[in-house]
């Protein structure tokens, strides 16, 4: 009898836990992500793309005491690019080769693990990577290297639905973390190296049914189609391979696109090549284009615009900030797509003038040549997919920069479905000095550099800022570090044992703050002792 009562009480308290601690992630919770800083509910932490944590337990006064609390090993090779999600004590993340897993966020112990059975002939461009998941209700969502989008049961890791976005054999893959808006799951595709036709899709979170598709290259009869020569639009690239942001006030989602194909040869695709290397403002309910801004017209240097479009507000100004792969820092009015200003944040030689609107214009002599032409930034860009952060306390924008010029050469290449389609090669220039990197703190309203932290060599780590007055980033030499957000002074570092190819995040459980980052084959979580 007593035992029975105990059991009943235990069940009751479990039920209580389920309704409180394990409440479902609703669209409203995603909108109000700032109200629950202990959780990290989407790729960039919030819809604005700030990658800012309001947690301040770890701060400038105690960061030096940070210690690793646990590590989770995927035991997989290749770049580990994930940003985990944390919801009420459970951490969800993806790994190399389309792994996914749920962990006890306090201990790092796995609850479930998933790995997709990938065909041998998938076409990932740049590693068998995945950058993370999205969550809604009792499902988590990820895109796959064979260009599917799948929903997993957040409690078991079982596949709930599996939707084919497109035939991967033509060069498509998906590597980004999806973005959930209302009851839709938004994704974009990778494949700018294969001559794809890029698109952004929205799927019903409940069923996996596709609700809309926006082709990033307009078809016949659509505005912008005239910016492509002949049939080049069919294989013109313009992938969308980094997660977008969302402005609920205007019900607009912002997505960015990558290079036109072939990436380093403009012959055969005369015109601006819309909407390659662009910022797109879409209606999330319909996928209809509201406006666009193209950063690099008729690009021949692989200057993808695939950096998270970060939303900031100043007074009644509603803006998008982007430090672009082409080396310019852009401030754009997000109500209409008009440029406010652009100024270089790294060495730039491809442009030496601006048009009437203030947008940088390419030099005629910056094109790749058969023998090779040295241009800055190089093909990896002045920055890349690694996330920047905006800290509303310091009101600074922090971005990983790379100082590298490359020699761009070009060669004619016939298109073959599913085969690499560069029309080019690029290789590091023969400079005596080694290439370097930096974390740059920029005043977004002026574009001026506030401070920089020099990296010995370029890094692929993103940046996290926190209310503790800190920014966290990693380097190619394997260090993960905390810097003072106001000054860039190093306060703490930890040697992860492999280059950091991911963007960090922060969460709390039982009132204890953690900072997590993936490096090598491991996901690390750090906290105060």
């Amino acid at each position: 009898m007593k035992t029975g009562m105990q059991l009943a009480m235990a069940l009751l308290s479990l039920g209580g836990l389920a309704s409180n601690a394990r409440a479902q992630v609703t669209p409203q919770r995603l909108l109000d992500s700032g109200k629950e800083p202990q959780n990290w509910l989407m790729y960039s932490g919030d819809y604005a793309g700030h990658r800012f944590s309001a947690l301040d337990q770890i701060n400038a006064s105690n960061a030096a005491m940070l210690v690793p609390k646990w590590a989770y090993q995927t035991m997989a090779g290749g770049k580990f690019e994930t940003t985990p999600l944390v919801v009420d004590g459970i951490l969800y993340a993806t790994g190399q080769d389309d792994r996914a897993f749920a962990l006890d966020a306090r201990s790092g112990r796995p609850i479930w693990q998933y790995q997709r059975a990938l065909a041998a002939d998938i076409r990932p461009c740049c590693g068998r990577v995945n950058r993370g998941m999205a969550i809604l209700g009792d499902k988590v969502f990820l895109g796959t290297l064979d260009a599917h989008i799948i929903a997993l049961d957040a409690k078991t890791g079982s596949v709930v639905w599996d939707a084919t976005a497109v035939d991967y054999r033509n060069g498509y893959s998906i590597t980004l973390a999806p973005l959930v808006i209302k009851n839709l799951v938004l994704i974009g595709v990778s494949g700018g190296e294969y001559g794809i036709r890029g698109f952004i899709d929205a799927y019903d979170a409940a069923t996996g049914a596709r609700k809309w598709r926006f082709y990033t290259i307009p078809g016949p009869g659509e505005a912008g189609h005239e910016t492509w020569e002949g049939d080049s639009w069919k294989i013109g690239g313009a992938p969308a391979w980094i997660t977008g942001t969302y402005d609920p006030a205007t019900n607009t989602t912002f997505w960015t696109t990558g290079n036109p194909s072939p990436s380093n040869r403009g012959e055969g695709r005369a015109g601006d090549n819309l909407y390659s290397n662009s910022l797109l403002a879409l209606d999330p309910d319909t996928g209809k284009l509201k406006w666009y801004f193209q950063f690099s017209k008729h690009d021949e240097h692989d200057y993808d615009a695939t950096q998270v479009p970060v939303m900031i507000d100043q007074g009644d100004q509603h803006l998008i900030v982007q430090a672009n792969r082409n080396g310019f820092f852009y401030l754009i009015d997000r109500t209409n797509g008009k440029i406010v200003f652009a100024s270089p944040f790294a060495k730039v030689t491809w442009s030496d003038s601006k048009d009437a609107s203030g947008a940088p214009v390419a030099r005629k002599d910056a094109s790749p040549t058969p023998e090779g032409n040295r241009v800055c930034p190089g093909a990896a860009g002045a920055t890349n997919w690694m996330s920047p952060t905006y800290d509303p306390q310091t009101r600074l924008f922090y971005v990983t920069a790379r100082e590298q010029c490359d020699v761009f050469s070009t060669a004619p290449q016939p298109y073959e479905a599913g085969h690499a389609f560069y029309g080019s090669a690029y290789f590091p220039n023969d400079d005596a000095e080694p290439f370097t990197g930096a974390l740059r703190a920029i005043d977004p309203h002026t574009g001026k550099l506030k401070w920089e932290w020099k990296h010995l060599s370029p890094t692929w780590s993103g940046v996290l800022s926190t209310a503790g007055g800190l920014v966290f980033t990693g380097d190619a030499e394997g260090n993960f570090m905390a810097l003072e957000a106001a000054s860039g002074k190093a306060l703490w570092h930890f040697q992860c044992g492999a280059s950091v190819y991911s963007s960090p995040m922060s969460f709390a459980i039982d009132g204890k703050q953690y900072v997590a980052v993936a490096a090598g084959s491991a996901l690390f979580a750090f906290s105060l002792p």
Partner: protein
């Protein structure tokens, strides 16, 4: 035996090719790999050998996947060997090249197919195309070393002083790179430049698995907190620490913020061997010696 681990299976969207047709209808992955490995095993020769179109297609693949390290025209770059030389360090036959491209070379910067940051993974057909391209740019008949090998060896171990810092086959110093394989991987032009202008391009040291750029043989001078000075070569370095070997071949590890001073220079510790230090004739002899060692 060749492994199909890294290669991408051929494109099922395209017309079957007779040498690859066996696995289009297979559905079981293990079976596929088994059949695939068997078909590769039988492939002792490039099926596209001598096909100029294959060589041209291979050039596109080479530019996208290989030129980053091996340079345009396969003439070698900062870290990739000159592939226009007929003799390849890790095997010169068609299956050797296929294996090297597909599986990489453990312990070197050569990654397995599809694992680089640059370019995309290649199909079996594309790898054979790249091999066709490499064959098309190979120099017919190795440029026989015109120098005197025996005299070069004498200079290396004696008057020229090379062995003070460089090791060949287990003999010599540890401050500079081991030169046992240099003759088989570097172009003559690269070796000449390394001797005449060693600071022009510093030699590369440790390559870490996920790090894009290798450590270089930079010169470093430190003064420790107690005032001891060490000069030597950087073995590795990060923002906070330094690992070095000094000119007396002692290893040192330091935390930079505990040093009184820390200075790096891209002026190589190796002297620039000008005409006075090493005549053109003697230079040829030293190169002949390096080539003869590399060929072993």
């Amino acid at each position: 035996m060749l492994s199909a681990k890294n290669v991408r299976l051929s494109d099922p969207l395209k017309q079957p090719r007779p040498w690859a047709g066996a696995f289009f209808t297979c559905t079981l992955l293990l079976l596929m790999i088994g059949v695939f490995a068997a078909s590769l095993q039988a492939q002792n020769k490039n099926p596209l050998a001598g096909d100029p179109r294959a060589a041209k297609l291979g050039e596109f693949e080479f530019r996208a996947n290989c030129a980053f390290c091996h340079g345009l025209g396969a003439r070698g770059g900062g870290r990739g060997p000159d592939l226009t030389r007929a003799k390849k360090r890790h095997g010169s036959t068609d299956p050797d090249l296929f294996r090297t491209i597909n599986e990489g070379v453990p312990g070197t910067a050569m990654p397995p197919n599809g694992a680089t940051q640059q370019g995309v993974g290649m199909t079996e057909e594309e790898i054979w195309q790249v091999i066709s391209y490499i064959r098309s740019v190979e120099k017919k008949g190795e440029a026989a070393a015109i120098g005197n090998v025996a005299h070069g060896k004498e200079l290396f171990n004696g008057p020229a002083g090379c062995s003070t810092c460089h090791m060949i086959q287990g003999k010599g110093g540890r401050i500079g790179p081991d030169l046992s394989t240099t003759g088989s991987t570097r172009s003559t032009g690269y070796i000449v430049e390394s001797l005449r202008s060693p600071s022009r391009r510093l030699a590369q040291g440790i390559s870490e698995a996920m790090k894009e750029f290798s450590q270089e043989y930079e010169t470093v001078t430190v003064v420790t907190a107690d005032g001891t000075k060490f000069m030597g070569v950087v073995l590795n370095e990060d923002h906070f620490t330094l690992q070095m070997i000094d000119t007396r071949e002692q290893l040192h590890v330091f935390e930079k913020d505990r040093l009184r001073s820390f200075e790096k220079s891209r002026e190589s510790l190796m002297p620039a061997y000008d005409q006075k230090m090493l005549s053109d004739k003697d230079l040829q002899d030293v190169i002949a010696y390096l080539l003869s060692v590399g060929a072993q």
